[in-house]
């Protein structure tokens, strides 16, 4: 501060002197960017003076200077240029994009840090990485862009949630998702709607990606300790766009249209194939004298002689999305503003799945006095999600269309929809006649004030609110539910967040100090009202009140509170040697009275080697070593898990009470200790950038649901028991391969490895090998000494070419046709060995081409739906994959399916490695071609037209034909990479135009 003041004084003196002696004249010119477009708001200062100006709207400027003066042109994100005036009176400048300065200031925790003083392990996705990616939801912007962040989109269903794991699974109970903080407000990510078989809605879908300025992923304890309470699974800070002081208004209008389809769908039997296969099975397996569909019909097994109906074709369509964004940003001398509007109307590629969203964002700052600033960031979201059933739901279009027999028809002779009369409902009719909507209104924002005093201190106080009103409306037609049924639920979430911080910064010569103390209070209140009824006179009466018979009348509340005090201090010597420490004490209402508070801390140190004198002239423009160690916590258990409670349970119209679980007063914070060591380099003026990080996270006092014998009347009790470790390396490599005025090519690769091991699980069950484990799903376990996401199954061998029997291995490796659950062994891991992304950006004159790949290697996925559609024993009951036609006969001995005569026919698809696949893939996530139309207009500054394709192609294993490898049907940390009829991802094609004026 003092230093700057001195500088300003010096400048002032120089200016005074120059004013006296200079021979001034007017210099004018235009400043453009590397594509030739004018840049408004570029600062032009006469070096060594206080005189300066800015370019106007058209990038033009005018300044009085003399021949000896040096004009300094600066603009955020561009390389500084210094030009001596000389004899010229017109100086036109083209500024180069400066990759190094783009992320100059990084938002960390409760403040910002200059990039070269960052000791924390963070991944930053900045505006330039985000700007030209048209996205549906914020996580689309993160996928493949940040090292150590593994995002698996749950499905291609609109508004579906993604599994986001930062450095692996660190927690075995409900919360392995990171904490999202939007402009300082921690986001509530609970679901306040019904489960429709599987899949859940994305809490981020209420955040407009277009209004995001940057995202910072905080990965190590040094970064997250300040969020102590909930930092264990990482924190993702989202900063929304703001205006700039003294900047003329910049209007932006964007519109894009998108078409989408499924990436991959399985191939299922046609009616003819079905009838023939069924006849063959009846003949071979049961000895019936049936050779074809006609004989099958005569024998009473159903009529498969007609053309049938293409159910999978009927429930998929070309999706269509139209999105408009309008924004204006700018500022006056004392204030800034950003106003963004967004409207998106999407029809998914699955019949009946539509999502309409409207977002409004207004961010304002104002300097009331020199030392007092106020601001507000307010986002308002409206969304209407026309939902579909998903996964394990007979009303789910993608599920039912695969299972329903191909001879079923959606309509009768008169054209009316009819129930299918089988498992796998007439989903074409369901989507036409039933209603399933989730309407959400969300207000998310904060207001804050900042006050500077004694020159060195800043006090900041902010109040944030995350208020959500989520209404679910369901109505089943009388065609599919006799008498019809209706349900209406309203969930209201109110989270209030108060932050107060006091910040101090000072420098004594080369000694730079900073410190911060603060407190945070947060309270979350959830109310859920649910009513349902049945027995309606007509479908024309949609509301619950018209039903004669109430079936649900329920109203519940839940509440939790969090209180934290924290402090942070940092010191650096001349920007070369840096240390930093933080401590936070957090209390959560979720824990027992004795253990509400936990203390978390972090220490970090760094050395900017490139700032040392001996590095002068080296190829390194940046070389920094850093290390940190610290702890973070996790309280993501139920609000009242620590309290013994008896809950409502009626009988015969009288109120009753049943035990919902014993008191657990000793429950306390789960703690994760993280060691993080990293190196960050930039060579040849950042033409080559390489970062490497090693991390080791050890989570102790794991909050786990320890299973207990069923005789206790409960399945599990939550305990602090166990220890888990995640370790790995993260690499970022960036190369600016070409950089000329007309042509530039940037390549960024990020890659992270992951090693996950469960160290102990005291109190958990013991398997036949004597190891303790926690069961996540029927096929997945956390096992001591193994990964927390180990697949634990019977090993499938194949169909024996000699006998036609399916064969498995016993635990000892003997071939058997009758395995038992005792034969299960660890067969795979749902966690990848490494994963990451590759982004290439090419600009050539007015064209730009960017491609983003993401990849995952070494993870296994379980396609549990195989037990149905690849199970020949379900012939007659369900439709099946065409793969089952490859069954064993005397002529076809190298078959997929055992002989229909085999005793293993029925057990062939029992849970085993038969349903386990190598889930490795490389996917072209996004490819965008843009063109900046050269325009010479008073009114319009920039016209950009672009086309984007997402999920254009995927390289994956041979066995995955018809299966999208990017799957997960659960966010449960113990149930990774499993699919039970998860709808595939969307492949989409988009064209858009963006105007700036």
């Amino acid at each position: 501060m003092k230093k700057r003041l001195n500088g300003i004084l010096t400048l002032f003196l120089v200016f005074m002197v120059q004013l006296t002696f200079a021979q001034e004249r007017t210099v004018t010119g235009t400043v453009v960017d590397n594509t030739g477009l004018p840049i408004p708001g570029v600062n032009i200062i006469i070096q060594g003076s206080g005189t300066g100006t800015q370019t106007d709207f058209d990038g033009e400027y005018s300044i009085r200077a003399n021949a000896n003066n040096v004009l300094v042109f600066t603009f955020v994100g561009y390389t500084k240029q210094e030009i001596t005036v000389g004899a010229r009176s017109e100086i036109n400048v083209a500024l180069e994009i400066d990759a190094a300065t783009l992320d100059e200031v990084v938002i960390v925790g409760f403040g910002e840090r200059a990039e070269d003083k960052i000791l924390q392990s963070v991944a930053v996705v900045s505006e330039s990485d985000l700007d030209d990616i048209p996205a549906q939801s914020p996580q689309d912007l993160l996928q493949g862009q940040a090292s150590g962040v593994n995002i698996t989109n749950a499905s291609g269903v609109l508004g579906a949630r993604s599994s986001i794991r930062i450095r692996g699974v660190n927690s075995l109970t409900g919360g392995a998702q990171p904490l999202f903080v939007i402009d300082g407000v921690p986001l509530d990510d609970s679901n306040q709607n019904f489960a429709l078989g599987g899949g859940s809605l994305n809490p981020l879908s209420t955040i407009n990606p277009e209004s995001i300025a940057s995202m910072t992923v905080l990965k190590d304890a040094a970064a997250t300790a300040i969020y102590g309470s909930r930092g264990s699974n990482g924190v993702i800070l989202i900063t929304t766009k703001k205006g700039a002081k003294g900047s003329a208004p910049v209007f932006e209008v964007e519109s894009f249209l998108q078409l989408s389809e499924a990436t991959d769908l399985p191939s299922i039997l046609s009616n003819q194939q079905y009838g023939q296969f069924y006849a063959d099975v009846r003949r071979i397996r049961f000895g019936n004298d049936i050779n074809n569909a006609a004989q099958l019909r005569e024998a009473g097994f159903g009529d498969f002689t007609g053309p049938g109906f293409d159910w999978l074709g009927a429930v998929t369509r070309t999706g269509f999305n139209s999105t408009q964004n309008v924004s204006v940003r700018g500022g006056t001398e004392n204030s800034t503003y950003y106003l963004g509007l967004n409207h998106s109307d999407a029809e998914g590629f699955v019949l009946g799945n539509n999502l309409e969203t409207t977002n409004i964002r207004m961010n304002l700052t104002s300097d009331i006095f020199d030392d007092l600033r106020v601001g507000a960031n307010i986002g308002l979201n409206f969304s209407s999600n026309d939902r579909i059933g998903e996964e394990n739901n007979t009303f789910a279009p993608v599920t039912a269309a695969q299972l329903i027999r191909p001879n079923a028809q959606p309509r009768d002779e008169d054209g009316n929809f009819i129930p299918s009369g089988q498992t796998g409902q007439n989903v074409v009719g369901v989507e036409a006649l039933n209603t399933s909507l989730v309407n959400t209104t969300r207000l998310l924002g904060n207001v804050y004030g900042e006050y500077d005093f004694f020159d060195q201190f800043t006090f900041r106080s902010s109040i944030g609110l995350d208020k959500r009103y989520e209404e679910s409306i369901f109505r089943s037609s009388e065609v599919f539910t006799p008498g019809g049924s209706a349900q209406n639920a309203i969930g209201q979430v109110e989270r209030i967040n108060i932050n107060n911080t006091l910040n101090w910064n000072n420098s004594f010569g080369v000694h730079n100090f900073g410190a911060l103390v603060g407190m945070q209070y947060e309270k979350t209140n959830v109310r859920f009202l649910n009513a349902a009824s049945r027995d309606f006179l007509t479908d024309a009466l949609p509301n619950v009140g018209s039903g004669a018979e109430p079936s649900v009348t329920s109203s519940t509340t839940s509440e939790s509170a969090l209180l934290g005090y924290f402090a942070q201090a940092n010191y650096d010597f001349d920007g070369k040697y840096l240390i930093e420490g933080s401590v936070r004490r957090d209390g959560s209402s979720r824990f027992g009275a004795n253990n509400r508070f936990g203390t978390f801390y972090a220490v970090a140190g760094g050395w900017n080697i490139s700032n040392e004198a001996f590095m002068e002239g080296s190829v390194f423009n940046r070389l920094r070593l850093r290390a940190s160690y610290g702890t973070t916590g996790n309280d993501r258990i139920g609000d009242f898990t620590s309290q013994a409670t008896f809950g409502g349970a009626d009988y015969n119209g009288s109120p009753g009470l049943t035990n919902t679980g014993p008191a657990l007063p000793d429950l306390r914070w789960e703690e994760t200790a993280t060691l993080d060591i990293g190196i960050k380099t930039g060579l040849f003026n950042d033409r080559l950038r390489f970062n490497a990080t090693y991390y080791k996270k050890n989570t102790d006092n794991l909050l786990i649901n320890v299973p207990v014998p069923g005789a206790t009347g409960t399945t599990s009790i939550t305990r602090n028991a166990g220890e888990i470790e995640n370790s790995g390396f993260e690499f970022d490599l960036g190369v600016t391969a070409v950089q000329t005025n007309d042509f530039s090519w940037d390549i960024n690769l990020n890659l992270a490895t992951l090693q996950n091991e469960v160290l102990s699980l005291p109190g958990a069950g013991t398997d036949v090998q004597g190891r303790q484990f926690l069961q996540g799903t029927a096929n997945q376990r956390a096992i001591v000494g193994e990964s927390a996401n180990s697949f634990y199954q019977i090993r499938y061998v194949g169909v024996n070419p000699a006998t036609g029997d399916a064969e498995w291995l016993t635990r000892d490796g003997e071939v058997t046709t009758t395995p038992t659950p005792d034969d299960r062994v660890v067969t795979g891991d749902a966690n990848p060995e490494f994963y990451g992304g590759l982004r290439s950006m090419i600009t050539w004159k007015n064209f730009d081409l960017s491609a983003l790949f993401n990849f995952s290697y070494g993870n296994d996925i379980l396609i549990d739906g195989d037990r149905f559609i690849r199970n020949p024993n379900f012939i007659g009951a369900f439709n099946l994959s065409t793969d089952i036609l490859d069954y064993y006969t005397a002529e076809n001995t190298n078959a997929f399916v055992p002989s229909p005569a085999s005793a293993t026919w029925g057990t062939f698809q029992r849970s085993s490695t038969l349903q386990l696949y190598d889930g490795s893939y490389v996917r072209l996530k996004n490819i965008t071609l843009g063109y900046n139309v050269p325009i010479n207009s008073e009114f319009i500054n920039r016209v950009r037209i672009y086309g984007t394709a997402t999920n254009l192609f995927t390289i994956k294993g041979d066995r995955l034909d018809g299966i999208d490898p990017e799957v997960t049907n659960s966010l449960n940390p113990l149930a990774l990479g499993e699919s039970f009829f998860v709808a595939p991802q969307a492949k989409s094609y988009l064209v858009g135009v963006k105007l700036n004026f």
């Binding site: 159903g302 007092l372 007979t394 299972l403 027999r405 079923a408 129930p419 299918s420 089988q422 498992t423 006050y451 005093f453 599919f480 539910t481 107060n500 006091l502 407190m519 049945r534 027995d535 519940t556 509340t557 509440e559 939790s560 509170a561 969090l562 209180l563 005090y565 209402s589 509400r596 009242f640 309290q643 013994a644 008896f646 349970a649 009626d650 015969n652 119209g653 009288s654 109120p655 009753g656 009470l657 049943t658 035990n659 679980g661 008191a663 657990l664 299973p707 207990v708 014998p709 069923g710 206790t712 009347g713 399945t715 069950g765 069961q775 659950p821 007659g876 009951a877 369900f878 029925g906």
Partner: protein, 474 residues
């Protein structure tokens, strides 16, 4: 002015930074109460007892999943539909990790633990206005429900008495309630069937001695435990352990009770609660059986799931004597879960709400018990077997028999009690018969004493309690 502002800010700062809001971390739930509150007043204690029946309402406990699964094991119904776990039961290739069976174990254990809480904690409660009589009655209600639940579990998870005269392994007897820190109390070994039956007998004798004959309202007399219900269940217990005189005697006493009367027709199914009912679990639209219970499984689509149509063998059994009202009045034809037209029972007419009552014991069963016990003991307690059987045949619109054999009685039991309580399976097993009839699949595995005629102990429970021994064959 500027200084003043600074001081204001500093004051505010001190206030927010150092004021304590730790009380804010003390949050009590609004939808639940603590155990202390639950045991604090006569009304909350009545709530705890109501809660026991409520837990028994689980489909996997008293409301139809295990009972209908027993029909799939035997010859009344052939499962149709999508659940691999129920298909496995039908096909006799059940594995120990079958999730449906795991749920059956769990939900029944859950009822037992809840009854233990009442039985163990109520005696110490002394509050004004809560009489010793009422306390004893509540404990007796809990003991009746515990007896019924243990008796049911012993049917699913162990061999019947007739296999080894009760010496075979049954379920573990657990009389503790769970407090969070006493997991070891729930890790005991399995007891023999005789030990389980002795415990059930003990509970039933206490219930018979301490329960009223009737409650105030008819629905409570039928839907809560009574001394008559305890006696009727004991009659069933004695029948199951071949104690014919006691079975006949107890059944006769129930028949002669003024509280119960054989219905003159079959209108008592569905929502009704009549003097035909000795004990039923009362379900309603707003407090129903839940999914995959009686109504859901036994009704055709789209109202129900259509999973449990009549087997051809059952249709043929009724067909042997045409005009049986139990077929003509109590069946419906509809589409099953696999899309075919099938015959279903209509004993549970409200599939949309899953609101039909579960008839656990009705007086008709007492006639059948008395007949069978008298026949086997060559006694005539109350009536001759022929008289009892003809009484029921006459109600069904069938002609009177002139002689009666055990086969006649088993046939009457089958036709009378189909799709109720899973009676058929135990009737066959305790008479040392195959579960499946000639012409059906898996006859060999269904033979009396066969290892797969009973469920496995769930793998999950074995993992968590090493003292449990798995049933042979799993």
């Amino acid at each position: 002015m500027k200084n003043k502002r600074i001081y204001n800010v500093l004051f505010l700062l001190a206030l927010v930074l150092f004021s304590s809001c730790e009380d804010e971390l003390q949050i009590l739930p609004e939808d639940n109460v603590s155990p202390e509150v639950a045991l604090s007043t006569p009304t909350t204690i009545l709530g705890l007892v109501n809660g026991l029946y409520s837990q028994a309402q689980a489909a996997d406990a008293f409301n139809g999943t295990p009972q209908t699964s027993a029909e799939f094991q035997a010859d009344n119904s052939i499962f149709r539909g999508s659940f691999p776990t129920l298909r496995a039961i039908r096909d006799y290739d059940t594995q120990a990790d079958n999730t449906s069976i795991n749920a059956i174990w769990f939900q029944n254990s859950d009822v037992i633990e809840a009854t233990n809480f009442v039985i163990n904690n109520l005696p110490a409660v002394e509050i004004p206005g809560f009489s010793e009589d009422l306390k004893t009655q509540y404990i007796a209600e809990a003991r009746f429900l515990r007896a019924l639940t243990m008796f049911n579990m012993s049917k699913y998870f162990g061999q019947p008495y007739q296999v080894a005269q009760g010496a075979s392994l049954s379920i573990p007897i657990i009389l503790q309630d769970f407090r969070g820190d006493n997991v070891e109390d729930f890790q005991g070994p399995r007891n023999t069937l005789n030990e389980v039956y002795a415990q059930v007998d003990d509970d039933l004798q206490f219930a018979m001695a301490n329960l009223p004959e009737t409650h105030g309202a008819n629905s409570e007399t039928r839907g809560r435990a009574t001394s008559g219900a305890a006696k009727a269940l004991k009659a069933r217990l004695e029948l199951y352990r071949d104690n014919w005189p006691a079975a006949a005697q107890l059944a006769d006493e129930v028949i002669n009770s003024s509280v119960y009367e054989l219905a003159s027709n079959y209108d008592f199914y569905g929502d009704a609660l009549t003097s035909e009912d000795i004990f039923a679990i009362i379900n309603s639209a707003i407090d129903g059986q839940g999914a995959i219970g009686y109504s859901d499984l036994t009704n055709p689509t789209p109202g129900g799931r259509g999973d449990a149509p009549f087997s051809d063998n059952l249709i043929a059994a009724y067909g042997e004597e045409p005009g049986d009202l139990r077929f003509t009045e109590l069946t419906q034809v509809g589409i099953d879960a696999e899309g075919f037209e099938s015959v279903f029972t209509s004993k549970f007419p409200e599939p949309a709400g899953n609101s039909d009552n579960a008839r656990i014991i009705r007086v008709t069963e007492m006639y059948l018990i008395r007949a069978e016990a008298n026949l086997k003991a060559s006694s005539t307690v109350g009536a001759t077997p022929l008289e009892d059987i003809n009484t029921l045949r006459s109600r069904a619109g069938l002609s009177a028999l002139t002689t009666v054999t055990i086969d006649n009685i088993l046939t009457e039991r089958r036709k009378e009690l189909a799709f109720e309580e899973g009676h058929r399976r135990m009737d066959l097993l305790r008479n040392s018969r195959d579960l499946r009839r000639p012409g059906m699949e898996n006859i060999a595995q269904s033979a009396f004493g066969g290892p797969l005629t009973i469920f496995p102990i769930p793998t999950r429970e074995l993992d968590l309690n090493p003292a449990l021994e798995q049933n042979p064959g799993y």
